[in-house]
Symmetry: C2
Subunit: 379 residues, 2 copies
């Protein structure tokens, strides 16, 4: 391509979409406005204040007092890999629960970090019972137990409390992927005894994609401190990152590590403000109410959910595609009506749809719109 070919070029004019897939959800207009504010430097006194408040609000959202609580400068996936690459050294024993695609991904990351990985698997839709973790750790200890709280590929909630307690009893750290759950259902990092957790910006928190919120508790920090070797990554090295984000609460000296994504952090700051202004409990309730409204609406259309009711997520609904209905045609027809839903993942491809009710979109009027459109399209 020569310069000339793009001299006029194409401008960004995205269509309006109601985003009812697995995220991104639609950000509040105030979040998009915050993102397009004046640029400032990544060491500007104003930006350092924004960083402090972002950490403070993120702690409130994670329900933790962990100092080491930041948005990683990459998407949610980067935050999870940051956890793995900092907590794991080559040769470490790691137990990973795999109840769907995102559990497989954690296991793959742990393997690449050099761990000897033992997988506790459950069929898609099911969860791993706590007793299986206990048995595995009794048979052989592990440095880390990693699991996905809200499995986006199957719509299943893997309960954390009991697993975290028994992992602790066996001297293992607990790392949790709460990419889909954070901001939309209870995530209690401190009360549950979770040592490290990672999420994303673009689902129930309602910011654009691009940041990977993470938190590390004292036991995790201790483990990182005891490493015999440096992590293979410089970009995601926890110690280096905290020379920029602040090694202690009192120490405001910031050392350059990388140029923070200033605008994305502006947007994230505003999204966190809105989450806490609503109140976490109210927000969780709103996501539960939205889920009920969706299930009611689906029932009237004769549609059923794939995931067993007792561990169904509120914000990510996996719907069985009725026999004889063409997956791609339905999703295409919905998109023509301005509504995005997602197809199934892996073995569930072509057999299920995934409908997200996240952030602003956990809303009765939007669910009515979706149900109305589905009624038309399926008729």
């Amino acid at each position: 391509m020569s310069d000339k070919d793009t001299r006029s070029g194409v401008r960004i004019e995205p269509p309006e979409r109601l985003l009812m897939g697995p995220g991104p959800s639609n950000p509040d207009p105030a979040v998009l406005r915050a993102m397009s504010q004046n640029m400032v430097g990544h060491l500007d006194p104003y930006f350092l204040e924004v960083m402090d408040r972002t950490m403070e609000m993120l702690r409130a959202v994670f329900r933790t007092t962990n100092h080491h609580t930041i948005p990683m400068s990459g998407t949610g996936t980067s935050g999870l890999e940051m956890i793995m690459l900092n907590l794991i050294e080559p040769g470490d024993d790691v137990v990973v629960a795999v109840i769907g695609y995102f559990g497989q991904r954690l296991a793959e990351m742990a393997t690449r970090a050099g761990a000897r990985v033992r997988v506790l698997e459950a069929p898609f839709g099911e969860i791993v019972e706590p007793e299986r973790f206990a048995e595995e750790l009794r048979n052989r200890p592990a440095k880390l137990v990693a699991l996905v709280h809200a499995e986006t590929s199957t719509g299943a909630e893997q309960p954390i409390t009991e697993v975290a307690a028994l992992a602790r009893d066996h001297g293992a750290l607990v790392a949790v992927d709460c990419v889909t759950s954070l901001g939309g259902m209870p995530v209690e990092v401190d009360a549950w005894g979770v040592d490290a957790a990672g999420s994303c910006s673009q689902k129930c928190l309602g910011a654009p994609p691009g940041l990977g919120p993470v938190t590390f508790g004292p036991r995790a920090i201790e483990a990182v401190g005891k490493r015999r070797s440096k992590p293979s990554t410089w970009y995601m090295d926890l110690g280096l990152l905290f020379k920029y984000w602040g090694e202690t609460g009192a120490d405001k000296q910031r050392a350059f590590h990388h140029t923070a994504p200033v605008s994305s952090i502006f947007a994230f700051h505003e999204a966190l403000r809105l989450v806490l202004a609503e109140g976490l409990e109210s927000r969780w309730q709103r996501h539960r109410d939205a889920h009920k409204a969706l299930v009611d609406g689906l029932q009237k259309l004769g549609l059923t959910l794939f995931t067993p009711e007792h561990h169904r997520l509120p914000m990510l609904n996996v719907i069985n595609i009725p026999d004889g209905v063409d997956d791609a045609r339905v999703r295409g027809a919905l998109l023509e009506r301005g509504i995005e839903i997602a197809g199934g993942f892996g073995p569930l491809q072509g057999k299920t749809w995934r409908v997200g009710l996240m952030g602003m979109n956990a809303d009765p009027a939007k669910i009515q719109r979706l149900i109305g459109a589905l009624r038309e399209v399926l008729a």
Copy 2:
């Protein structure tokens, strides 16, 4: 912090800054507008078109036909580490030129990737002569030669052409950090025979920070294909990333890898459009002209540049702080006037300032404003 403490919360209201540090520079208002457009999904047909056009425009900016040319979903640093972690396997021999902080960083990344690193060092302000690379490679071959084109900590340009040619002759790949140079001075990936290059979004390209543009040529792709082991990173794995970005030009099938930072890519797309609308040659000339205007202005104030003239960068100017002048006071007083410049790096801290003329800020009126403010503050 309880939810209640932030129920009202603090809104994002950044001050206006003229950003004449090492980046971010001030983005064009059109870029910030693009970033705050409607959110769409990362697999939306509209977004897939944006991805294609982004790759196409980025190739034009890198002056390459490399298919593997994308913005990595992380800051410029992530793009450089992605290059290192994909090209290097444990035990590989790597030669790194270190003429300042960012060269040291490349060497550290290569070491963490498992390489046996040999460093060719030059004092801050100087460059490494091509003959030293030739000598090093004659003594012992290497898989990769890595070097920084525009060293942001010293203001020095390390010429690439000759080094790339002789590395090739010795069977080594060449990876270049062009974080500061891309869009502000000639970077000719194909003509120079560079195998991999990484830059950033927030300097001479004029987008917000948050993306790491990278390009990989055929020899680099071949080397990645011959790896005996997977990279330690899943997030930055080139092969996995290209299942999403498109394995070949014709194959439009995109597989989910991570949720792309949609808004940041909107902004980057608009920034690239503006770069190519101006024309790369015109843009390089504008940066050269700005540099001359700055040097003239500084001369009138009795200020001199640290970096020897024959390898001085246009967009990053390292200025000697006159004896008896307080570094922090001057930068503070400029910031009060709404102008950001940066302090010196490492051994140059307290001894130099760094003034960036990048993107929109390579502009005579803005340079006049800076010189005027400096005159006041130094008086």
